[in-house]
Amino acid sequence: MADMTAISLPVEKSRPIVNVSERHEARVAWMLAAPAMILIVLFIVAPVVAVITLGFTDFELGYSTFKFVGFENYAELFGDRTFRQSLWNTAIYTAIVAPASILLGLGVALLIESETVGRSFFRTAYFLPVASLLVAMATVWQYLLHPTIGPVNNLLNLIGLPGPNWLGSASTVLYSLSMIGVWQTVGFNMILFLAGLTAIPRDLYSAAEIDGAKSPIDRFFLVTLPMLGPTTVFVTTISIINAVKVFETVKTLTEGGPNKASEVLLFTIYQEGFVYLRVGYASAMTVVFLAVLVVMMFAQYRLVDRKVHY
């Protein structure tokens, strides 16, 4: 577009009609885009700038004044046991939920794709958690995992195993939350993988058979896996970002406990910012959170550009 205007510049004087219609088009475009533009600035750009700025202040809600404190908030973050615990817990949670839900999603998609019977039933069954209210289903899980009256532990007792206090013990709470997280996201990943699988041209499988790929495993490595490359990169990014954003289950089931064993990033930000009202300090945490997201997205762009694009 830039070189087009450059070329049309000298012609402008001799053919003013083109210029008028172009100017009209630009004016209409501005009018159509203006509401969106204003709202983006109002609700996205300005708050991001504000949160970065607030991160350098000691602003607390309820106090009318605040002052800039430089990197003091960030220095405090490094020493903050709760925040470090929170980062660590989020990392562990992500390290479990993302790979597990990706692999299970892929596995289920492959099984459903190669099966002719009951396809839509299985798809529905695995996808149902995605369409369900997470807060509500978390409540159901709380009942299922109840240490004494919960069906899971009753089932374990039947076969003679002692059931742990899933959500109530510091040693198991993060894994229990991870399990719920996996249960909730497998269906989403499955749907994306199913779409990726149906987009693979049938001819490629025929060609692979003719080229001597005898077993389904050979064809999987020759055709399926590489052709799912872009889908896999996308699913991976989405899964990681969604895992980093875990909040609902923690807020509903554990409130970060017991003993901060399930304290995760967004929950800590929520507590600092909206319960203790330390906006400046919570803003600094938010900047760290945002930085994590930016790094993930950037990694995806690079990976898509370099490896799996064809």
Binding site: E25, L111, T124, Y126, W183, K251, V294
Partner: protein, 277 residues
């Protein structure tokens, strides 16, 4: 070939069925427990069919403690308003970016890409401060306004409009339509697949969102379904799981029912928004 297949198929079907059972188990227990009396919940949690049907009592309790109707209505109003604003604002903008030449297109594209990176969690602190100082907490405005702009909607529609033939728009212009007329009478009627896909994405996201409502709403009158359930749990001392399951059942049902009825659209919608987002 057929021999190995039948063994493989049996294995595959078993695996899929077992998995499906685990995935559906919470729903089965939810429905079962919602009909059990307190005493039965404490004694035999593994029997699925209640010995006495306590559904009426549990549902009555659920409706009695928190106004379930109000919660669901709030959910519908908030999701509906958000969706309408998002579409009305995003479509003209996406059309201008896709089909019209203007100087700010590149800047706008950069803003959209930036916006895709920023979730509500990152902007909630300043927004909360702003809504607080404007005395707008506990209102539909606070629940809806931050989501009135969806850069994801702009992005999705932009992709969709770019694939539409330019000739269609040129023909409309020659027929004497204004640009707004083109958007309303040519673009929108042809963009229904993208609009439905986005509707599903948007409604699922905002129906389920807990973070922002939790921040701006403390008054039950404006609670959305997830927040209302949280209030209900807080009000519910002890382990009255029967009533709790009845409440979760009511709150989960609308979206699950919508999904079961329009499954194909849901899957298409998720695929479209998922793959392009």
């Amino acid at each position: 070939m057929t021999n190995t297949l039948s063994f493989g198929r049996a294995f595959r079907l078993t695996l899929l069925s077992l998995g499906a059972l685990i995935f559906l188990a919470p729903y089965i227990f939810m429905i079962s427990t919602a009909g059990k009396a307190q005493s039965e919940i404490f004694t035999s949690s593994l029997s699925l069919i209640p010995t006495q049907f306590f559904y009426l009592e549990n549902f009555a309790k659920a409706f009695g403690r928190v106004s379930m109707g109000q919660l669901l209505w709030n959910g519908v109003v908030v999701c509906g308003l958000i969706f309408i604003f998002q579409v009305v604002i995003a479509i003209p903008c996406a059309y201008a970016m896709a089909k019209l030449k203007f100087g700010a297109a590149r800047l706008l594209m950069a803003l959209v890409m930036l916006g895709l990176l920023v979730p509500i969690h990152a902007t909630s602190l300043p927004l909360y401060v702003a809504f607080d100082s404007a005395a707008l907490l506990n209102s539909y405005t606070a629940l809806v306004a931050p989501f009135s702009i969806s850069v994801f909607a702009i992005f999705l529609f932009l992709q969709f409009f770019r694939a539409m033939p330019d000739d269609l728009i040129h023909a409309a212009r020659l027929d004497g339509m204004s640009e707004l007329g083109i958007v309303m009478r040519v673009i929108v009627p042809n963009a229904w697949p993208a609009i439905t896909a986005f509707a599903i994405f948007s409604v699922v996201a905002h129906w389920n969102d807990l973070y922002w409502p939790l921040i701006v709403v403390s008054n039950q009158a404006y609670a959305t379904p997830p927040l209302g359930l949280l209030f209900f749990r807080a009000a519910e001392a002890g382990d009255d799981y029967g009533a709790l399951m009845a409440a979760t059942l009511i709150i989960t049902l609308p979206l699950v029912a919508a999904f079961l009825l329009a499954q194909k659209r849901f899957v298409e919608g998720i695929t479209m928004t998922g793959l392009k987002g």
